[in-house]
Symmetry: C2
Subunit: 433 residues, 2 copies
Amino acid sequence: MAQSGRGSKASPHVVIVGGGFGGLEAAKALKNEPLRVTLVDRRNHHLFQPLLYQVASATLSPADIAAPIRHILRQQRNIEVQLAEVSRVDLQARSLDLEGGSRLDYDYLILATGASHSYFGKEAWARHAPGLKSLEDALDIRRRFLLSFEQAEREPNPEARKALLTYVIVGGGATGVELAGTFKEMTSLTLPKDFRHIHAERARVILVEAGHHILPSFGEGLSEKALQSLEKIGVEVRVGQPVTEVDGQGVTVGTERILARTIIWAAGVAASTLGQSLGAPLDRSGRVMVEADLSVPGHPEVFVIGDLASFSHGLVRPLPGLAPVASQQGRAAARNILASLSRKPRTPFRYRDRGTMATIGRGSAIAQVGPFRLAGWFAWLAWLFIHLMLLVGFRNRLAVFLEWLFAYVSTQRRARLIVGTCGNHADVDAPPE
Amino acid sequence: MAQSGRGSKASPHVVIVGGGFGGLEAAKALKNEPLRVTLVDRRNHHLFQPLLYQVASATLSPADIAAPIRHILRQQRNIEVQLAEVSRVDLQARSLDLEGGSRLDYDYLILATGASHSYFGKEAWARHAPGLKSLEDALDIRRRFLLSFEQAEREPNPEARKALLTYVIVGGGATGVELAGTFKEMTSLTLPKDFRHIHAERARVILVEAGHHILPSFGEGLSEKALQSLEKIGVEVRVGQPVTEVDGQGVTVGTERILARTIIWAAGVAASTLGQSLGAPLDRSGRVMVEADLSVPGHPEVFVIGDLASFSHGLVRPLPGLAPVASQQGRAAARNILASLSRKPRTPFRYRDRGTMATIGRGSAIAQVGPFRLAGWFAWLAWLFIHLMLLVGFRNRLAVFLEWLFAYVSTQRRARLIVGTCGNHADVDAPPE
């Protein structure tokens, strides 16, 4: 049973590693085909990552944006889902090493293990400035954020209290902007009435971007609109200066020292290390440079998709790490496997950009759809609608819709729970690191 | 600011320790009174414990049954909420020692710190058989339960697979019965379609009760009905035999050895250790034997309520550890403080039993209201309605109602997420302990 890859060889065996947007779409595209499919993930759930910042900011609960992978695929009879971590790809043997010692053979392999944070070689920063990639990360950030107000409420020293109420978000991409917007909303609308000694509305939320523009992929016009929206709700934005130091007391931006006890890392992205075991050329972020058909050079039976892939055929710059890119690549890889099996030519991948968007706060978002650029209320409504539609499962959609409606009308957040992770309340009285 | 207990002594200072049912009701009862009130809890949230088993069984999310204490009390201007752990009561100095070194003085003290599990001196059992008292406990049990199926799915050895699919719940009180019922429902209705190699519906759920009846407080008639309902849905119930051994391989019940990898402890209750620092007489479970007015003998300014109190004035046996007892005692203690302040006589506490109920599964519950005894569908509907009404906050009520409706109609559970606590996926490939 643990050896499901070694069973009958009657039908070809496709192994998909990773149950994110790419892996899930690849699996679905192989439905009803005469193949055995195994999807391996180290988590039991698919995660709707674009809304992860809302778990971090106590608006949504984990179950609102995640669903068990095997449940999503339960009706697909040719698939098997395994909860396991892949430690190595053996291209020669066409086999995967799983943590714990077992192996899984494949005829075709789709690698979709995504990316995590990169601290650009400053790994020591990680403990002071957590990133946001998993549900655990989101719950950790939520705990740090909420605890800082609790600590500030009983902190007699004004300087220390100020540092507790200063929040620095490093990285002006979509995650950083969305997190900064929602943090500021919470400090100015959700939290003030709950405290007696602090003025939560005076808390500083600082967004730091090393480049010259936040949300650079949207072009200067929209980027400027987003900046104005952020500043209007009170977020301080620093652009053009890299962070040069992060420690338990704060960050250094260029030459400026900012004392802050809560720092969030939304800057660097590093591809999953599994790509390294392929021996294929990697880009600067460790992404695998794939062929036009998404396969690994020299290994037409191995595909790499999503955030782990660097695809630049016919493009000025490689495709960005976005959910729609991953989904489309998942379907394309599946189609190319089916083409090979029926001895038809493969199709080069082509990304259809249906638009990108980012939300800044209540009633404010920017969107870029082909030649159209939108900002403000209408973009925000479009953002809400599209993200609701993209969520897996009717039930999640309804739950999230109701949470949003409640949050918008009441300015409250229902998931403001500080739940310990390791030990019980180690954080509560811990001294500043 | 950390010294809020040492400020002006103009109005008397009431300190409440614990934000459960008792502490919260006491705080609310002191609203608009000329008092300063401080509520101290080591958690930031009030927890609706009667539904905690539904978080453990992946039906509800933490945010559905918990809310920040300071948010619940935000409109009450005379109250201050502190996130802190009390380590000791200094009755002579009328002061509390808080973890971290600070102190908090009081004029009146209400202790409502509740209870946790007792392993009857077998503390080594705790790691194999977690109890269910906090959100962390519930998420831990959920993870163990869901992981057991993942491990069984890829376990080639039939004996080991059988142990993975055997669930033993120790303790036939309300928590044990409700957990057993909902676990069995999940194995027979929710999970079967998701797996390819195991038959989840054949999983064994065994409820072990050392006494001769499950739910003994309901009387023999209802207890028998509950037993029949459990057996009808497939739960195996063992009564009259104590558990004599718990280890990583299973449990020993009387002389019978049951191999099981998931064991839940719903048996013993031990009062919070804070009661010991009072020097007052304690009962067998460590509960403080209180006076008729709920105060500590010799200390009319200190009250003990809820699961931490043992109240037996005019009763055959002490009051049970139930939410309504705690709530009523909270209000009574507050009233007695107000009486003392206006130099009126205190009122002895009298519990008004408005009934107790327990649910067994889909469409099945038992209820006892005064002389009336109910079982079956109507009792279940009453259970649903009453628990919805008792939840804090309209939004939680609606969210829980929708989760229940969805779970009932679809037989699915939306919160089936395995979220790691310490480290990332330490559990996934861990060998059996």
